[in-house]
């Protein structure tokens, strides 16, 4: 009964979203206060209905109501409560509902925080958000009903995919969805600004923060996904350029480009059309990514089971693509550049180069991801496009990007004088060159030397900027170094937070280079008590430890790690295999990991003789990997600093709206 109500709620939500969307568009166009208000109320009510539907599905999952087909297929009695909770996004229909839930959350946030601002734009923002909600609600009602009932009441569920039973896998999709879905907000603002012709800097400023926050979640989600792949999939890597991974990476690329080019628009009033196009592409790539992972058009290990959602997505994509394009063409006359670019050696030129590279990488990634499809349609041959292709094509582009990242902050707006050029570039270039030569001499490896030199150059730029900023504060106000640093972040968060984000990216890049070029690995079968030498370590196998868990058995192989030279014990690790009761033919792997700042010792248990008298391992030494996760933390911290409301700015925004209210009241 309650599940029928759940379905009914979804149907109601569909109707409501349709109504709210129309109310928003019409209300915005006719400046009709009642309809505009209706669109706000529809946003709030929609969120309530969706939350209720999600609550019902959660209830079904947590109370083992296997008569619901979704619960039957994605849960089981013995599943730990934590994973029952996360099973909501473990399958097709549930994850679509989860998408909708997050989207509703963002709609409410966007409507609520801007209810006193952007009065001309907001009805359209509500309409676009509700339009997207409408699409997902239609999917749930017509193609993927999470409340569908089985024809009988099964005794137990089929269990959650074992690969998903990992805490990273619980957290990572949530982060990714928040980032992914949140990118609908800037799109809604762009549509609103274009429709209402309010194309000044107001919406641009608002939209920057609404992009920055989803961007942060998307970045964190991507990194957590890498972490999961690194710990669970056991092939010694963290990123495989799989279509589903690319699906999350593509909007990240265009959103990053947007976050940069929007600064140029703010400062110089140029690139307006390009910015609108970037938001549009980002949103389109979000929907395209959701489509590809759910329709089976591309093969991937991470795909959902095939279902009938494909045609709906196609229609929606056509609407997004051509609807927005039509609007953009119509508004082109209002999007003229206000100022000119004056020099190639200016900050705005560097930003344009940045966008050029990001767009290039995004295109190459999109092209490579879909190339197997084109190739099969046109030649009939099945090919796979994986890491070798993407590394070769995107590798050099990323190198250029890092160089640019080092150079851009050193350039001034408008133009850079020769004198400033020398003053700015000397130290960073020197640091980069020294690093490159040192690595080349030490390891006799050309590509990593170039890559790490670029990283060092970019890092040196950031350090130099910080040193100058702190010095300036100390001279003017005599603050201590930490206080000066804090004030830089507080008062100039956009700039200095942005540098922190750059630093995070540099650290991640260094980790990637270390892994790509200096990884060592070996395959061994060890008898109990035997050991093997790998890199600077001696690794000894000391026996198998089985361990019964609720819904699976854990087999761990104890390994002791010694320093090869001194013989000192460095630690012990326990690579494991989990054999699940429901899916014994699909064992999962937990790698044994000893992480240090220099390198990770990473061991996969491949198999063992009965009782563990011998066991087979794949062992890797992964240099610098820890810096990928540290870089991720730095990136998140930097984003938070960059998006934190500026004390002075908040006041001025408040003042703005007061002035506006007074002004309009006085009219």
């Amino acid at each position: 009964m309650i599940f029928h109500i759940g379905y009914l709620i979804l149907v109601t939500a569909t109707v409501l979203a349709a109504f709210g969307m129309i109310a928003g568009f019409v209300g915005g166009r006719q400046r009709n206060v009642k309809l505009t208000l209706s669109s706000y109320h529809a946003v709030y009510a929609m969120a309530g209905l969706v939350a209720l539907a999600a609550a019902i599905l959660w209830y079904a999952l947590l109370t083992d109501r296997f008569e619901v087909a979704y619960v039957w297929n994605h849960s089981e009695r013995a599943l730990p409560v934590f994973y029952k909770f996360s099973a909501l996004w473990g399958g097709q229909a549930g994850s679509l509902l989860f998408w909708l839930l997050i989207l509703s959350g963002f709609s409410v946030a966007a409507a609520f925080f801007n209810r006193r601002r952007h009065w001309a734009i907001m009805p359209y923002v509500n309409a676009v958000m509700l339009g997207t909600s409408l699409f997902f609600a239609v999917l749930l009602v017509f193609a993927a009903n999470p409340f569908e009932l089985a024809s009988f009441v099964p005794q137990d569920g089929m269990g959650l995919n074992p690969l998903l039973q990992n805490y990273w896998m619980v957290l990572h999709p949530v982060m990714l969805y928040i980032g992914y879905v949140g990118l609908a907000v800037p799109f809604a603002f762009a549509v609103g600004a274009l429709l209402s012709k309010r194309l000044d800097n107001q919406w641009v400023r608002t939209v920057r923060r609404w992009t920055l926050i989803p961007w942060m979640f998307l970045s964190a989600g991507i990194l957590m996904g890498s972490q999961w792949a690194y710990m669970e999939l056991g092939w010694g890597g963290y990123w495989a350029w799989d279509p589903v991974e690319n699906a999350s990476f593509l909007p990240w690329l265009t959103a990053t480009a947007f976050l940069h080019s929007i600064v140029v628009q703010e400062q110089r009033g140029i690139l307006k059309v390009w910015n609108a196009a970037l938001i549009w592409m980002t949103y389109f790539l979000v929907i395209l990514g959701t489509f590809t992972t759910r329709s089976g058009v591309l093969e991937s290990v991470h795909s959902f089971a095939r279902s009938d959602v494909g045609p709906f997505f196609l229609v929606f994509m056509v609407i997004i693509l051509f609807g927005f394009l039509w609007l953009l063409f119509k508004r082109l006359p209002l999007l003229r550049d206000e100022q000119a670019i004056e020099s190639y050696t200016s900050r705005e030129a560097a930003f344009m180069a940045n966008n050029w590279l990001f767009a290039g990488i995004a295109f190459a990634t999109l092209w490579g991801t879909f190339f197997p499809m084109f190739s099969e349609i046109l030649t009939g041959d099945r090919i796979s496009v994986a890491a070798p292709f993407f590394n070769k094509v995107n590798g050099p582009l990323f190198l250029l990007l890092i160089l640019l990242m080092g150079a851009a902050p050193l350039l001034g707006w408008r133009r850079t004088s020769r004198q400033a050029f020398r003053k700015q570039f000397t130290w960073p270039l020197l640091v980069g060159a020294v690093t490159g030569v040192a690595i080349w001499l030490l390891y006799d490896a050309g590509y990593p030397a170039i890559g790490l030199a670029a990283c060092a150059f970019a890092a040196a730029t950031i350090v130099q900027e910080y040193v100058r900023g702190v010095q300036a504060r100390r001279i003017t106000s005599g603050e201590s170094v930490p206080a000066a640093m804090g004030n830089l972040w507080r008062r100039n968060g956009r700039r200095y937070g942005g540098y922190l984000v750059h630093l995070g990216i540099v650290l991640i890049a260094a980790a990637v280079i270390g892994n790509e070029f200096f990884q060592q690995n070996t395959n061994v079968t060890l008898a109990n008590g035997e050991s093997v030498t790998l890199g600077r370590y001696e690794i000894a196998y000391t026996g198998l430890e089985p361990n019964r868990k609720v819904n699976h058995v854990e087999y761990g192989a104890r390994l002791m790690i010694f320093d090869q030279e001194s013989g000192k014990t460095l630690g012990s690790i326990l690579p494991r295999r989990n054999i699940y009761d429901k899916t014994p033919e699909q064992p999962t792997s937990e790698v044994g990991l000893r992480m240090t700042l220099i390198e990770d010792t990473y061991v996969v248990l491949n198999g063992w003789e009965t009782g563990g008298s011998t066991a087979t391992f794949t062992m890797y030494i992964n240099p610098l990997t820890a810096w990928m996760w540290i870089g991720g933390l730095v990136l998140v911290l930097g984003t938070l600093i960059a998006s934190w409301p500026h004390p002075g700015r908040r006041r001025s925004e408040a003042a703005d709206s007061v002035a506006y209210a007074v002004g309009s009241a006085g009219d």
């Binding site: 400046r31 010694g236 000119a340 090919i383 796979s384 994986a386 070769k392 094509v393 309009s664």
Partner: protein
């Protein structure tokens, strides 16, 4: 600025040339290239050295050395046999392409239509670069050519009045409903 356009285009071309050289060379591994097999024993490490460049044909996006399917183990067995017979990595790769088609490569084979996969990203980047360059060059023209005022913009008068009315009403209503 524009007079030096040819120079600039030459630089762009150079960058792409460098990119193609990179493509041709392929990234090197810090480890030594697959060791030439003396007649001795073939270890699992030797097999995986070859398997690292192959992709499991049954899975999607799983490298052969990391694949745990029985079918993959059999492929590795064949690699071991062929290595013991003295074949080198390239001819083993060719054998698998013959057997399973180009999907074992993990990248488009550089032939026929599939060349497009490699070329188009760089062509698109180059076209984008040229477009950007021209746009920038146009914007860099002397500033006096750009007049400040826009005769075409709508006059603020009556429309603004209506908009302000609407804004005030909306504010009032919103205040009522919260």
């Amino acid at each position: 600025m524009i007079k030096s356009r040819t120079n600039q285009i030459a630089i762009v071309l150079l960058v792409f040339l460098a990119a193609f050289v990179w493509l041709g060379a392929g990234p090197i591994s810090a480890q030594d290239a697959p060791t030439a097999e003396p007649a001795g024993e073939v270890t699992l490490n030797d097999v995986n050295e070859v398997a690292r460049d192959l992709w499991c044909p049954l899975c999607s996006g799983v490298r052969l050395d990391a694949c745990e399917l029985k079918a993959c183990d059999q492929m590795k067995d064949v690699i071991a046999i062929k290595l013991a017979e003295g074949e080198d990595a390239a001819s083993i790769k060719d054998y698998f392409i013959e057997q399973y088609g180009p999907q074992v490569l993990g990248e488009p084979p550089r032939e026929g239509f599939n060349w497009l996969a490699w070329i188009l990203p760089f062509v698109a980047l180059a076209l984008g670069g040229v477009f950007l360059w021209r746009q920038t060059a146009r914007m860099m023209q002397p500033a006096e050519e750009m007049s400040a005022a826009d005769p075409g913009s709508p006059p603020p008068g009556a429309e603004k009045q209506a908009e302000d009315d609407y804004a005030r009403k909306l504010d009032e209503e919103l205040a009522k409903y919260g």
